[in-house]
Symmetry: C2
Subunit: 399 residues, 2 copies
């Protein structure tokens, strides 16, 4: 069987940890599995490189930042290949360009356009363990790109999709939990979860997947498994198509996203051009929006969305330089916490929203922007109310 394994940065933080993983992989290889291994940069390498960059340039160009950061993963995979070879396992490391990851040219958040797996498949055919540097690719013009947050997970899922095999993502968490257990210790580990729920819960707990990555897994029906690196027993979470639906449990989990900002454009004229120009602006800045709201009040439009604090600051800086944006009135509220209740059961259970806001009201927790989807309810609160809100909601929905 062909398997894709992905190991996160804290799992490969030291050479001892790399050697321990190599031993596990050697066993799997001996059992006859064909293995593709995707690794992140060792421990805090990426942060260290970012700090160096900021020393020479407070606003480093994204192209150069991508070239710099891509080295972290290359170091891990060459070391992993060496560690495997030390155990007598035939292994070969591959950088983003060697493994055929062609991306668009949006540096720091590139999208995969195509994967030329010819070389990877050839090595697998030769019996090699193929160790691929995560998080990176190359444009058709030969520029190095990175895939953004959670990029190595995306690398792993994408190669699994292309090879038509399952993907196991290992990090320093046991599983996906109903609620982040650091905030709500009685939280339960989920044995199974659907792609859709997983997508909505993308920000839940540490080391859990980015939405984009789950989206990719769903699109190509890649069986995903999330577990703890070197776990003795298989205690992690399997992400799959089939919704895991319990009649009596409309909510599967609560996801928590911190350092959110709400950006609001106020007093805009009500015409089609206004919103279009804002979306164009957002596209130019490559922002990932969340919770988009538009309200019309007295014939004027208020348009708002949430994004990360960092992205809000980037947008603000760009707006100052953008002549098209000079007429816009902008409000940014920073450092909020976004909670999302997620569950496929919500679609058939009425009254979930009522119960959510009743619970918050009873605890005296004010909430700001609200959005809902078929299987989720999201809202932002002040960060100091986070634990109180999570505990009250987890109890209310028996998580």
């Amino acid at each position: 069987m062909t398997l894709v394994h992905k190991y996160g940065g804290s799992s490969v933080a030291t050479t001892e940890k790399i050697q321990a993983i190599a031993q596990r992989l050697a066993q799997l290889r001996q059992q006859g599995h064909r293995l593709v291994v995707v690794c992140s940069a060792m421990g805090k390498t990426t942060n260290r490189l970012i700090a160096l960059a900021k020393e020479v340039n407070p606003t480093p160009s994204k192209r150069e930042m991508d070239a710099l950061l891509s080295t972290g993963e290359i170091q891990t995979v060459s070391l992993m290949a060496m560690a495997l070879q030390a155990l007598g396992v035939d292994a070969i490391s591959m950088t983003g360009f060697q493994s055929g990851f062609i991306t668009n040219a949006v540096h720091s958040k590139a999208f995969i356009k195509e994967i030329n797996t010819q070389r990877v498949e050839q090595y697998l055919q030769e019996g090699k363990v193929v160790v691929i540097a995560g998080f990176q690719g190359i444009t058709e013009d030969g520029h190095i790109t990175t895939l953004g947050r959670g990029g190595s997970d995306t690398t792993a899922v994408a190669i699994a999709a292309k090879l038509g095999c399952s993907c196991e993502i290992y990090a320093d968490v046991d599983a996906v939990y109903t609620v982040d257990p650091r905030i709500y210790p009685p939280a339960r580990a989920l044995q199974k979860i659907s792609y859709d729920e997983m997508m909505e819960m993308s920000a839940l707990g540490a080391g859990v997947l980015e939405t984009r990555c789950v989206e990719l897994a769903k699109k190509y029906q890649v069986d995903l498994y999330l577990g703890r690196t070197l776990e003795e027993e298989r205690k992690g979470t399997t992400v799959m198509s089939q919704p895991v639906f319990f009649e009596d449990m409309p909510v599967t989990g609560i996801s928590i996203k911190e350092h959110c900002a709400i950006v609001t454009f106020r007093h805009m004229e009500y015409n089609a051009g206004t919103a279009a120009s804002i979306f164009a602006l957002i596209a130019r800045n490559n922002l990932n929006l969340d919770m988009i709201n538009q309200t019309i009040l007295d014939g004027k439009v208020a348009f708002s969305f949430s994004c990360s604090d960092e992205q809000a600051s980037e947008l603000e800086a760009h707006l100052k330089e953008d002549p098209d944006a000079s007429a816009l009135v902008l409000d940014i509220r920073r450092d909020l916490t976004q909670l999302s209740l997620v569950g496929v059961g919500m679609a058939t259970h009425t009254g979930v929203a009522t119960q959510v806001f009743d619970t918050l009201a009873r605890c005296g927790i004010p909430y700001y922007q609200i959005t809902t989807s078929e299987i989720s309810i999201s809202f932002t609160i002040d960060p100091q109310n986070k634990e109180k809100a999570v505990q009250a909601l987890a109890q209310a929905f028996h998580l």
Copy 2:
């Protein structure tokens, strides 16, 4: 004017040093020069990476080692490009494969087969400072290679040869000296030196060029300048075709190579096949030989050569596994020091050899293998006699 600048590892050891060099480059750019900058890995990065590799595998594969080590230079060049951009200079970093360095597949000591400078020239045309990762290339099959010791110098000279411009190599030494000033403080800095002399003196002093690199410069008539990073005045050494010949000075300088080994194959049958099989063995091991000697005694052949201690050990290990070599009797003398007196004047001055060995005899210094060329005399001595020998010879030849 187009200029190639190369900065060594200690010159780019910190972000402050990178910024200072960026400032110097910005001035040159402002004066209208088109600039290609080649950088080594920062400070001790390469040693740190080698240590990591040895932790996971005492004998790491050379392919993986090359992939690992190539990251050091990529980090420097992306930081250098960022530092230039911070000063408002348009700059772009390039890895080995991006800058079109195609090499053969001899990992850790690859030779450049071809440089596709199309992209580099395009960027220069656009007014960009092009910052190229030294020491690395890529095979036609897409494997990352490194060029071996002094590889970044080779990168710089090769790109200068291809662009038809001069090459300035900056390190933490002022110039090429007649003798290493750390061993013989009265040594003089040479303002000019010929390619041939420079080749013979390749190991002279710290930060001085590898033979291979000078050979390349000579072949393509690249004007080479060696100076101290950020020097205020131009006090370095220019390497050029025209021999620098003083009637009264047959010796230009003394070069010192440490940790040398002498490898001797003894008691071999005198036939053409024997020497051929040894050379085949040497080629298989990619050894760089020096001071080759063959002596015939009582119809038996003794064949010896010098190389580095490290290469001698590699050869010894390979010989044990080589069935063709089982009949050979091998002697290895390790940790010797090789001194070479170099000077184009030697060709026309008689008695230099006599004066050399008289001087050594007067000081009571025993010497082992001797070889001579048109412009040099080399011999090996015990390392503890190094300073005494260098001082006596430097005085004898007025260096």
